[in-house]
């Protein structure tokens, strides 16, 4: 499957899992616009240090928007929006892969009600097994592991599908070409 088909499949499955997805050009200005729109009028925005996206892409955003990059406990537990990057995506399942390490993505993608994740579309693979293949054999295993995130948190225990349980109720994926 060629790359553009993979990206199309990813967008479809991610949306079916309950995420919103947008594709943008890889530039600081365009990323700024997207992030601002996605944050809308939320306060208390926390963000993890980018590891997989070139940090220069965030320069406008960080200059203009009040974002906390090293939140303390109070900021972490009261934040409304968390922004992280992802090291990979999976087309078959509509998943983004967040690494678990000292950059706090594990918390920032979990505690706030809205999670915005930025992913380079070239890092989307086809199936979950490809993540294991690539990230174990070629790159060193992410120090403590990673999480496949496929849509916002959800439950069917209350009689119908409800999105937003203990994890975020909104997941927004920004795909950089």
């Amino acid at each position: 499957m060629n790359n553009s088909k993979i990206i199309l499949q990813f967008i479809d499955t991610a949306q079916k899992a309950g995420a919103t997805v947008e594709e943008i050009n890889s530039s600081p200005g365009v990323l700024y616009d997207s992030l601002v729109k996605s944050i809308s009028d939320s306060k208390n925005i926390i963000m993890s240090e980018p590891q997989y996206i070139p940090s220069h892409l965030f320069k406008y955003f960080e200059q203009k928007i009040n974002v906390v990059k090293q939140p303390n406990a109070e900021q972490m537990s009261s934040a409304e929006v968390g922004i992280t990057d992802a090291f990979a995506g999976v087309a078959r399942t509509g998943s983004v892969c967040i690494s678990i390490n000292s950059n706090m993505s594990s918390y920032i993608s979990l505690l706030p009600r809205k999670h915005i994740v930025i992913l380079e579309s070239k890092n989307i693979v086809l199936r979950p097994r490809d993540i294991f293949d690539q990230y174990i054999s070629k790159k060193p295993l992410e120090q403590s592991g990673w999480i496949f995130i496929s849509g916002p948190s959800a439950t069917a225990d209350m009689g119908e599908l409800v999105r937003g349980v203990h994890g975020p109720d909104k997941l927004h994926i920004i795909l950089l070409d």
């Binding site: 537990s77 918390y107 592991g145 496949f148 439950t155 069917a156 119908e160 937003g164 349980v165 994890g167």
Partner: protein, 745 residues
């Protein structure tokens, strides 16, 4: 109202009966709705996996290897966990595990523990021990949160509270919490639980999770969820305890890929659940002082439990249950489970088709009495991602339970039974039903008397008292002329010159022969017109009836005789055609357990056909246009409703009927149910009559929607299905009878 906990211990048969009644009255609607949704979603999810069969084969092999080499893998895992800086403990039983975890709590002076969903923790009854030790346990999985307040045990391996409707949950929350805010919709209930539990996550001292898969090479764990509570449990508190059965261990983290691609699609029908965490604890991730206590370093404890699993591993039958990855697919595909859920079709902890083996292995055999709700319909079999033969597990449990029965009157009865029952121990009902053919021989010699007797009310009441056959159910009538007798009359006049050179042995199954010869006659007519040299075989019991009643020895003996018999015909160049699908399924599936010679089993399997399966092969290979043999215009009505027999579907022999009928120009509506619920003798038993009729409701509705008795023709291949559908007053014929009616000649 009965709380399910009161009837959780079903070693007492009265409890099973009460639990079934309670489930049918209160829980059935919610269970059916939720479980049928999972089942439907499952089909569309696995339809998207192009290498599904290969994936299952691979998963099966990985599990066989892992369980075979479990001691070595456990040793490897221990050193990996310790190398990572974690603690490893292998508890021998429930008490050992609970005591150890309590010790951890006391060591860290824990006041509050947050828990993710862990059926294993239910198995060992962990919460009781921790709470008795003065520790607050907050269940954070919504279903477990609900159960914590309702005081019930789980009713499903994956969705423990699917028996609860939203209305009941709303009522429960209002009672327990007195919230002062509206709690009606799913969203309101969920938001309430989120707010209540968020505080617990932030202040908890210890987080306890299960583990879906464990890798021996890296000491990694896979954790699968959708709510986010498990992530919170392992991320926020300084101490993480993961509790799992030893069977969860796999050789390598690379193996996770295969299982994760199967688990969610099989269980809930999602490609992946919202969060699948692949962690290698203790995490090198800073702690946050949310609870204002001292910011300790992270600690990780892996607590594995044996609790009967090593014994299961050594048991020739139960060890297959250790391959289970707890997806719940077998629960969702089961018509009986759909009707009653895990509070009836389940024990103290485990439920559904796979539940009996687990309750036996981790508890005792008597707790698996609910496995009687497994009818052997086999709809769970193609859905199991690790290809466990669930019906076989339950059939052996039935045998083992039979051996523990207190027998009344059976000794009188024994003299009336065929000799291959000499070593069987079972109650009157099972001995009767398992040897049905033997009584059918006599019943059919005096059909007028036997039919009149079984319709006589006092006789029906006696049959109910002594044989447990429900008086509500009309017993099938014996024909006054068996198929064999018909054939002897027809035989010579029908034989044409064989155009195709093909030779078919029509197996004279006992159901067609004694109860329903019309479909056999139809087969003879149709095959004859197609130029096939057809011979009717001898009437020999195939063992299905015995197997269904747990009479394994008798079933095995019958299988040996049949296989020899069939082999003789195959050697002479005959193909075997079998009309009754439950008998064909014996030859193609169940016999593998009885025939030691694998090549012989495969030979029988490859030469046995369902009639339409054979016709399809014939039409293609001989290049015959079916419209030259059959003329649809001979019937005025072309609207058909076709119900596929459960076991027939599983062996891949159902679609051919639909294909041919459609090719001939019929408008075919097909049933969308897993099983009609009659399942041989199951629906006749007084203990299960109501479940059987509840199972049939969906099918009846679908037939009624398709048409009235006068404007739709209902077709079914299995005799059980015909009997069940007849309960709604529609006529049912075998598709072969339809073909015979429209033969051109």
């Amino acid at each position: 109202m009965i709380n399910p906990r009161e009837v959780a211990n079903k070693s007492n048969p009265e409890n099973l009966h009460k639990a079934i009644k309670m489930s049918l009255d209160i829980e059935s609607e919610a269970v059916k709705r939720n479980v049928q949704t999972f089942n439907l979603n499952h089909y569309s999810a696995i339809g998207k996996i192009e290498d599904y069969d290969l994936l299952k084969d691979h998963a099966r092999k990985l599990k066989e290897y892992s369980i075979e080499n479990l001691p070595e893998l456990l040793a490897k895992l221990e050193s990996s966990i310790k190398l990572n800086g974690g603690h490893f403990y292998l508890a021998k039983d429930a008490k050992d595990a609970c005591d150890y975890i309590l010790k951890i709590c006391l060591l860290y002076k824990a006041e509050l523990v947050v828990k993710g969903k862990s059926i294993t923790s239910e198995e060992i009854k962990l919460n009781h021990v921790l709470e008795a030790g003065g520790i607050e346990v907050a269940e954070t999985d919504l279903a477990e949160f609900i159960l914590q307040y309702s005081g019930e045990q789980p009713s499903h391996i994956v969705g423990p509270a699917i028996h609860q409707s939203r209305e009941r949950i709303s009522k429960l929350f209002k009672e327990k919490f007195n919230p002062g805010i509206p709690l009606e919709t799913g969203e309101e209930l969920t938001k309430f639980a989120r707010t209540k539990l968020r505080e617990k996550f932030l202040t908890a001292d210890i987080g306890i999770t299960g583990a879906n898969f464990i890798a021996a090479d890296t000491g990694s764990i896979a954790l699968v969820e959708s709510e986010g509570n498990i992530r919170l449990c392992y991320t926020l508190p300084p101490v993480h305890v993961a509790l799992a059965g030893i069977e969860k261990v796999l050789p390598s983290i690379n193996d996770f890929g295969t299982f994760l691609e199967l688990l969610a699609p099989s269980g809930t029908g999602q490609p992946l659940t919202s969060y699948t965490s692949i962690i290698r604890p203790p995490l090198s991730l800073p702690l946050y002082p949310f609870n204002k206590k001292k910011n300790n370093k992270r600690e990780f404890y892996l607590v594995l439990i044996d609790n009967g699993r090593m014994k299961m591993r050594n048991d020739p039958i139960l060890h297959e249950a250790l391959y289970c990855i707890r997806c719940g697919a077998c629960l969702n595909a089961c018509a009986n489970f759909q009707s009653v859920g895990g509070h009836a079709f389940g024990g103290e902890t485990y439920s559904g088709g796979i539940g009996g083996a687990w309750e036996t292995g981790t508890g005792k055999l008597e707790n698996a009495r609910f496995s009687e709700l497994c009818t052997g319909c086999s709809r769970c079999v193609p859905q199991c991602p690790v290809k466990i033969d669930i019906p076989w597990l339950n059939e052996i449990l039935h045998q083992r339970l039979n051996e523990k029965e207190k027998l009344k009157y059976s000794f009188i009865f024994k003299g009336l039974l065929p000799k291959d029952n000499l070593n069987e121990k079972a109650n009157l009902q099972k001995l009767f039903l398992g040897n049905f053919y033997h009584f059918a021989k006599w019943g059919s010699r005096f059909p007028a008397i036997s039919n009149k007797m079984q319709r006589n009310r006092p006789v029906r009441i006696l049959l109910e008292k002594f044989l447990g056959l429900s008086r509500e159910r009309m017993l099938p009538a014996f024909t006054n002329k068996t198929l064999v007798k018909h054939y002897q009359k027809l035989g010579l006049s029908l034989l044409k010159k064989s155009d195709t050179g093909r030779k078919v042995l029509l197996f004279a199954d006992i159901y067609t022969n004694y109860l329903y010869p019309a479909r056999g006659i139809a087969a003879i007519k149709v095959f004859n017109d197609l130029g096939i040299n057809l011979t009717l075989g001898e009437v020999i019991p195939d063992g299905r009836a015995a197997l269904s009643q747990g009479l394994i020895v008798a079933a095995s003996k019958r299988a040996q005789l049949i296989v020899q018999y069939l082999n003789q015909w195959i050697e002479k160049g005959y193909d075997i055609v079998v009309i009754e699908p439950s008998v064909l399924a014996m030859f193609r599936r169940d016999y593998k357990h009885f025939i030691k010679d694998e090549e012989l089993f495969i030979k029988i399997k490859n030469h046995s056909y369902e009639p339409f399966e054979y016709l399809k092969k014939l039409l293609i290979e001989e290049n015959i246009n079916p419209n030259q043999i059959f003329d649809i215009k001979k019937l005025s009505d072309h609207k058909l409703f076709y119900h596929s027999h459960c076991q027939q579907k599983t062996i891949g022999a159902a679609d051919q009927t639909i294909e041919l009928l459609q090719k001939l120009g019929f408008n075919v509506i097909t049933s969308q149910v897993e099983c009609c619920g009659m399942a041989g003798s199951f629906g006749y038993k007084k203990d299960f009559y109501e479940v059987s009729m509840r199972d049939a409701e969906d099918l009846f509705k679908q037939i009624q929607t398709a048409g009235d008795k006068d404007n739709i023709l209902v077709l079914a291949g299995g005799i059980s299905c015909k009997d069940q559908i007849s309960e709604m007053g529609y006529d049912v014929i075998h598709p072969l009878e339809l073909l015979a009616k429209i033969l051109v000649s």
